[in-house]
Symmetry: C2
Subunit: 377 residues, 2 copies
Amino acid sequence: MTTPGSLDGDETVADGPASSGGRRSQRVTISDLARRLHISKASVSYALNDRPGVSEETRRRVLSLAEELGFHPNSAAVALSASRTRTIGIVIARDPALISTEAFYMHTLVGIEQYLNEVDSSLLLRLTGEHGEDLDVLRRWSRQGRVDGFILFDEHNDDQRVPLLKELGVPCVVVSSNAPDDGVGRLISSPEQTVTLLLDHLAELGHRDIAHVSGPFTFVHEQLRVKLLAEHAKRRGIRVTHLEGSYRYEDGAEMTRTVLARKKRPTALVLGNDLMAVAALRVAMDLGTAVPDELSIVAWDDSPLCELARPGITAVDQQTMERGRMAADLLFRIAAGESGLHWETPAGVLRVRDSSARANRTTPGRGPTRRLRPASP
Amino acid sequence: MTTPGSLDGDETVADGPASSGGRRSQRVTISDLARRLHISKASVSYALNDRPGVSEETRRRVLSLAEELGFHPNSAAVALSASRTRTIGIVIARDPALISTEAFYMHTLVGIEQYLNEVDSSLLLRLTGEHGEDLDVLRRWSRQGRVDGFILFDEHNDDQRVPLLKELGVPCVVVSSNAPDDGVGRLISSPEQTVTLLLDHLAELGHRDIAHVSGPFTFVHEQLRVKLLAEHAKRRGIRVTHLEGSYRYEDGAEMTRTVLARKKRPTALVLGNDLMAVAALRVAMDLGTAVPDELSIVAWDDSPLCELARPGITAVDQQTMERGRMAADLLFRIAAGESGLHWETPAGVLRVRDSSARANRTTPGRGPTRRLRPASP
DNA sequence: CTGAAAGCGCTTACAG
DNA sequence: CTGAAAGCGCTTACAG
């Protein structure tokens, strides 16, 4: 440890020419700035934080010297005295294999990062397994004072996270599909909009009998999707059967086999994510079911996988990156004490590709029959 | 701000039953522990950190009370006094679109996280654009004392990061393809092993004329790949032509068109990543070139994209997750003062799929000719 | 083995 | 507008 007194006046400069004094660059503190300018640490602090209490003249001198010396405030000291970490926490509790497969998370992170870059803040990330360790991490990070708040994904039944964070008094934003009035921030993207998008598309193509392979029912958003899709379809006279999947490839494949084995096959398949949609496509083709001629396939979430499949898979671009941005933005406002806790995400956009087409295209093959009937009562 | 004196003896307990006292849980500090146990803060600190200076009896009482009260040390205070953040930094400077497409990063992060979970540490992540902002972030985080060290990816020509971090005196590990002796930690995975894997496979299948579409030459590992692939191929009497790609789909497609337009076509294509390999597959099929009959396609990096393509794309599983784990492990050892700075990654594994097969399978189509010649002198 | 004290680098009332 | 001082919650020599 060198003593502060040994500062020799030529630290490494932030962006300027390389420093002349060799060796390891030494950390510059506000005490150094104060000493050099013959003012108090308090004045330096006021100047740096753009607060009243210093003359313009002084402020300018401080900022200029700080720039020159490449001063950056020690984040631990700031956090300790001001209880502000400029860091948000994200804890994702999913099977690692799935995390890396689904572009959703990476896209969301990119969106969040875009915002963080703008406000010079950081992301503390933790990918835990699926077994409740996430609660421990939330608790620990909160108690440790590591973050200013959290962004939560994948709300599920009996989700303990919101109650926990409320008890701990830590701000959070839930990327959510509904808006319970529990006082925490919510970035809401209602499945209703996507349901409409998908049903409009399929109805227009003449589909009146579709199957829906959802993700796990334990997720709140999946429950809503299933419910809303069923309701809206019914209203339009479209029959929907539902199967619960796991987001995994194998599951999408199996469900598709199940559906295709039925006497009365649907003409279209809606899959809860991109991986299961690709699986459906493969299985259908392997079984000799032409896509889209005999079976249309659409996915709830767009991704490169949908785009690169052949035929390309029609999917809803959920604007994931923008959602990430907004979630971060919202969290910072909440952490700063703002109210207005519920925001809505921008509308999704249907990317129409070759996997969806008119129902009842008669093609050579085990010809589909018995269609166009109204849904059973 | 409530005063410490107002502690009422029934904070929220870490894992136990819900606390009885209502309201917001209040933060527990070592002062609280010390007061309750009638010992000094120092003793509490020693006990918690498993250091000499306290009796076993006292240590047990401290740990027990800490557990009971759900105590977690304030990270800022620890960082400030002990200069240890339990946090590593990663700054990725790539086009966001590419970041989310390539499973590489997400896989690596998952691996790193596995390790961090074990040692209860965290990851500070920043995804910047491609324009040198990464250096600013490294400098700022270093000066701010936010991290104990960095893991660096994608070493490129004139990379300023290692010199910068050395100057700043911050530990780092470079996930690297070579081992210059610059005194920083390196997790090395030599392309030589992958080159051998790929050439063994292709040679065995009778390919004697291949094309290699690499990633950008600015990356050190791509330069090495190109060089080593050329050398080893030559030694085996295999002809290699090289084209420089960008890792993007469009580029993979264009390069493939270029190669297929040649009079003397290669019988196999090696692509620098999964996206370009998928692109190559599409283009070949669109142009009526049968894969693998007329053209074999192999990818340097495996991913779900390769696995899910049809035909599946033969690729090298680079054990990315394990690499991430090792990088984190190495960084922590370096930060702790260990030497032995260079580690090697585990060997990659070739995943043979349907996109590669024997050269010169005569099939209907624009029959390939003029093959099996030795490489031009 | 234990305690009192200084110090890490900031912020923030509180006097001048 | 400016400065001296206390405090954030830890760690760490240094005496007892």
